[in-house]
């Protein structure tokens, strides 16, 4: 749009002087107009005031004239800023005149922005933020598993297996094994339980860390059996335990009662694969934490394996290669590698699992909520645009460009959105501080710390923009259409039908979107309840548990372990306030239990996988597990007695489908030709949910459980469980001193209540159901407000019609009924549309649902009923108002 360029070409600096000329023109106008008014008899000062008032906002008119004169575009930025400043100022003045409208609109948007921002901050930290590892996108876990157990069951590899993978794989260029272990650090002060990782060669290079002090391990040191009693400390342990002693390198410390030499200290921020690792040791030093034999045992699987994808390789290709390697190994070692596979998984997937997907769903839910809130604000703006239609029409008639009016209306909704956005960010800030600490542990990996990052700000900015656009489009469109003819014809209510349709459209959309959210929340809540309703098969009240690991150095064999275990149980039973003391190799909901195979002696080829537990006498009774048949593990099941086992009903069903009792049957825990491997089933207990609430005990993926006598199969890891009558704190000192009374160098760790461990199993569904519930509650309230607003407005509009009907004898009830009926028509349409969308889309939740189908009729029915109830409530007040209109009053109002 070039206009008349020659003038500017001829007169350099024309733009500035053109501004001055415009000012001069206006000044002249005002002077002459003042003189005219004086001639009409006004006092000079008053005349000037009137002249200025009639002229209008000088600054805005100057800006418009500049723009209309084609000069606005030349200095685009500055002019635009000025226009924007004027529009924003205008919008703020409008809001000052309508504070209620402003507050309601801004708060509505603030709530939606806050919800979106808070959820996105979690997604950002968990999914978008770089993992705390260098080049983390190329890091993968290589998880070994047995196909029969499902991919979730076992995630470890044996040392020889790991070495085979490492040698044969080209797609995973650097493969490293990591074995996390608790270790006891003693000497110089109280014995302390620390977390260590035994690592193979190349670990530090893979994780991108060089020692801040000293060095890391050489390849030989890392893997030579018992070759290098060395340790690398974390920065945290070095500061906490050794006062950041710069001379630490070369010193000897006591780990699990062995002397090891510190060779290095890692820099702050370097982290291992597990959370809060204090020290790293060579994989070759396996004898520190267990038997060195496992280094050569193909069937003992305990290593986590990680690696880096070779350049240009993706997870899929690496998976193909590992599948081929697994097949080769199955052929080479038919026994040890039967059914054995390896899964390649990115670090992000491994750490987040399905939580990442859940977060995306929650962010989607947040956006739905935002749309609902925006629709409400759009309706508010429409109602206001309605009231101003005459003003807009006149502005257009005197030549204001349609795009200027639209810009003005958009500016209003954007200003509203911006104010709502700022408020919302404030609310989000509070929410992140308030809610994030209450996200139960286990939902997110330890390194995920939600905060208001730059990305979160950008997201919120986009959210605010979206809200402003959605809320502004309809009013702006109606403003652009506002025309003098229509305004004059209808006495101010121009384009009534179109606007009403837009408002009703928003209500239909709101109802539909709210229904989507409610269905999501309903499904997640019902799934969560279904999980809570699963009978864990035990009595959790007051039950607590801690872990001890008698060190191999002082408790080298089964006899010494047995003695320690007996003494531990005996001393704890003597503590006042403590009862039901038992020890076991593992404990429900507390992480890994070991698995192995059994066979029926008559069918030795058919391996059946099971979970193995060792328990002390009275374990079932004390934990409240019902013995269905036969007996429990008792005192008589000593080391020298006949080998016995107690099994769960699920194991009987799996192993002896033809014999529902199972008691008295014999199974083999190894080659059945060796009588030492034969074990008699002496009892059957009810199914206990040891690992997971949501997996069926009989599911192919879930192995059944088998319990041995602790005396017959001792365990070095002891889970010591006991019931406390009152609170843990009152007995804890006595419990500690009871353990210290046996061996002061043995720390107790991982103290927890069974109820808490159980709750953390349900943490993710609880979290998801809570957030969705919160969102859908807000959605419900907002849609209710939306329905109310539109009906109240339409009742106001229909006043003459209603009055006429009343005058003609319509009863109040009939009038109220017609209002409610019109609400239900709108809501009905929204429900149909939303219901269809929900039925089609609820499948995305399938992965998170337990015991409830994505198209659960109870959920859908409940949600529909709720929405209808909300519609009736929202319509009640407008209906009542309509019914109360007296014919005379209503007709007078017109």
């Amino acid at each position: 749009m070039s206009g008349w360029p020659f003038r500017r070409v001829l007169r350099p600096g024309a733009v500035r002087s053109a501004d001055a000329e415009l000012r001069e023109e206006i000044e002249l106008y005002l002077d002459l107009r003042t003189e005219e008014l004086v001639r009409e008899g006004h006092a000079p000062a008053e005349a000037r005031r009137i002249a200025e008032e009639r002229f209008g906002d000088v600054a805005r008119i100057e800006a418009e004239a500049r723009r209309e004169g084609g000069r606005g575009r030349r200095e685009g930025g500055r002019r635009m800023m000025e226009t924007l400043r004027l529009d924003v100022g205008y919008a703020l003045r409008t809001f000052r005149r309508n504070p209620l409208f402003f507050v309601v609109g801004a708060l509505t948007l603030a709530l939606a922005v806050a919800g979106n921002t808070a959820v996105f901050s979690v997604l950002d930290a968990a999914v978008l933020e770089a993992l705390p590892f260098p080049d983390a996108d190329r890091l993968v876990f290589v998880d070994g598993y047995h196909l029969a157990d499902g991919e979730k069951a076992i995630r470890y590899a044996s040392v020889p297996e790991f070495r085979d993978w490492r040698e044969r794989s080209h797609t995973v260029s650097r493969m490293v094994a990591v074995d996390p272990n608790g270790l006891t650090l003693s000497g110089e002060g109280e014995a302390e339980r620390i977390t260590g990782e035994l690592v193979s060669r190349g670990f530090f290079e893979l994780m991108g860390g060089e020692a801040a002090l000293g060095r890391t391990f050489t390849p030989e040191e890392a893997e030579t059996p018992d070759g290098a009693p060395l340790v690398v400390l974390s920065d945290g342990l070095w500061r906490r335990r050794f006062g950041a002693d710069p001379a630490i390198v070369g010193r000897t410390i006591q780990l699990n009662d062995r002397s090891v030499t510190v060779v290095g200290v890692m820099p702050p921020g370097f982290r291992g694969v597990s959370p809060d690792v204090d020290a790293w040791l060579p994989l070759g030093m396996m004898s520190l934490v267990g038997s060195a034999d496992v280094l050569d045992s193909r069937g003992t699987r305990f290593l986590g394996v990680i690696g880096r994808l070779a350049p240009g390789v993706d997870v899929g290709r690496a998976q193909d290669e590992l599948d081929a390697i697994a097949r080769d190994l199955q052929a080479e070692y038919p026994d040890a590698h039967a059914d054995r596979w390896a899964r390649v998984q990115s670090f992000r997937e491994e750490y987040l699992g399905t939580t990442g997907r859940l977060l995306w769903i929650l962010v989607g839910a947040g956006v739905l909520l935002l749309l609902i809130a925006s629709a409400n604000v759009a309706n508010l703006l429409l109602v206001r645009a309605h009231a101003r239609v005459r003003e807009l029409a006149v502005r257009r008639a005197v030549g204001a460009d349609g795009s200027r009016v639209v810009g003005q209306l958009f500016t209003e909704s954007l200003v509203l959105a911006a104010v709502g956005g700022v408020l919302g960010l404030g609310l989000a800030w509070i929410a992140i501080r308030g809610i994030v600490p209450s996200i139960p542990t286990g939902v997110l990996p330890d390194f995920v710390v939600p905060e208001l990052s730059v990305r979160v700000f950008l997201f919120s900015f986009a959210v605010v923009g979206l809200a402003g656009l959605v809320a502004g489009t309809a009013p702006a469109a109606s403003g652009a259409r506002a025309d003098l003819a229509g305004a004059l014809r209808t006495g101010g209510w121009g384009a009534t039908g179109r606007r009403a349709r837009a408002q009703q459209g928003f209500v239909v959309a709101q109802v539909g979107l709210a229904l989507l959210l409610l269905v999501g929340a309903g499904l997640l809540t019902r799934s969560f309840r279904a999980q809570l309703a699963v009978d864990p098969g035990m009595d959790m009240r007051g039950m607590h548990v801690f872990r001890v690991q008698p060190p191999r150095e002082r408790y080298p064999d089964a006899a010494s372990l047995r003695l320690f275990t007996h003494e531990l149980v005996r001393r704890l039973e003597a503590v006042p306030g403590v009862s039901a003391v038992a020890a076991s190799s593992d404990f429900p909901f507390r992480g890994r239990s070991s698995g192995s195979y059994i066979v029926r002696p008559e069918d030795p080829e058919h391996l059946i996988r099971y979970h193995r537990h060792s328990v002390t006498p009275g374990y079932f009774e004390k934990l409240g597990v019902r013995v269905l048949r036969g007996r429990a593990i008792e005192e008589q099941d000593r080391a020298d007695a006949r080998g016995v086992a107690v099994v769960t009903q699920a194991l009987v069903d799996r192993v002896f489908p033809d014999d529902p009792s199972g008691v008295g049957r014999t199974i083999a825990i190894g080659d059945p030709r060796d009588p030492d491997n034969l074990v008699e089933i002496v009892g059957v207990v009810a199914n206990v949910r040891y690992r997971d609430l949501t997996q069926d005990m009989m599911a192919e993926a879930n192995s059944p459980d088998l319990f041995f006598s602790m005396d017959q199969i001792p365990s070095r890891t002891l889970e010591v469980s006991f019931r406390v009558r009152r609170d843990l704190a009152s007995v804890l000192p006595s419990v500690r001193s009871a353990v210290a009374g046996i061996d002061p160098a043995i720390p107790i760790f991982a103290m927890d209540s069974l109820e808490h461990a159980y709750r953390s199993l349900t943490a993710t569904p609880r979290f998801a159901a809570f957030l969705m519930g919160l969102f859908s509650l807000l959605a419900l309230v907002l849609s209710g407000v939306g329905i109310y607003g539109v009906l109240a407005f339409s009742v106001g509009q229909r006043t003459p019609e209603i009055a006429l009907r009343r005058a003609l004898g319509a009863r109040a009830g009939a009038v109220a009924g017609s209002v409610i009926a019109s609400a239900l028509r709108l809501v009905g349409l929204g429900l149909v549309l939303g219901g269809v969308a929900a039925a089609l889309g609820s499948g995305v939740l399938r992965r998170f649902l337990f015991g409830v189908a994505p198209t659960d009729p109870v959920t859908f029915g409940g949600v529909l009923a709720t929405m209808v109830a909300v519609a009736v409530v929202a319509a009640a007040l407008p209906a009542w108002r309509a019914a109360r209109k007296s014919p005379v009053e209503a007709l007078n109002a017109e």
Binding site: M1, G3, W4, E21, L22, E24, E25, I26, L28, Y29, D31, L32, R33, E36, R54, F55, G56, D57, V58, I61, E62, E64, A65, R66, R67, E68, G69, G70, E391, A393, V394, R395, R396, A397, V398, G399, A400, D401, G402, R481, D483, L484, A485, G486, R489, T490
Partner: protein, 110 residues
């Protein structure tokens, strides 16, 4: 230009028509329009200036600085041949439209 935009140019047309007789400065144009038509400038007299500058940019008007009778510097606007042509065509559209409106009103619309 769609039908509903017909009124947008009301002020433009009034300005062009006013200038058909002689070049005038802003105040004089405004005065003439106020005298000649009820309402169009009653909302905001200053709206005249964006309109003048728009018309100038579209080369329907041209301008020149001169002096008023009292000797003050003032910018005088003059209609161009293009402006005159535009006025003629708009005037006929206007007549059509107002005829239509009049017949609707006479027919006793809503």
């Amino acid at each position: 230009m769609s039908g509903s935009d017909l009124f947008t140019g009301t002020l433009d047309i009034l300005i062009l028509r006013t200038l058909q007789a002689a070049p005038l400065h802003g105040y004089a144009i405004g005065r003439a329009i106020r005298d000649g038509s009820e309402g169009v400038l009653s909302v905001e007299e200053g709206a005249l200036y964006p309109a003048l500058h728009r018309l100038e940019r579209r080369s329907l008007l041209e301008s020149e600085w001169g002096h008023t009778e009292t000797g003050r510097r003032a910018k005088f606007y003059r209609i161009t041949p293009v402006g005159a042509e535009h006025l003629a065509s708009e005037a006929s559209r206007w007549a059509d439209y107002s005829g239509a409106v009049a017949s609707i009103l006479a027919g006793g619309g809503r």
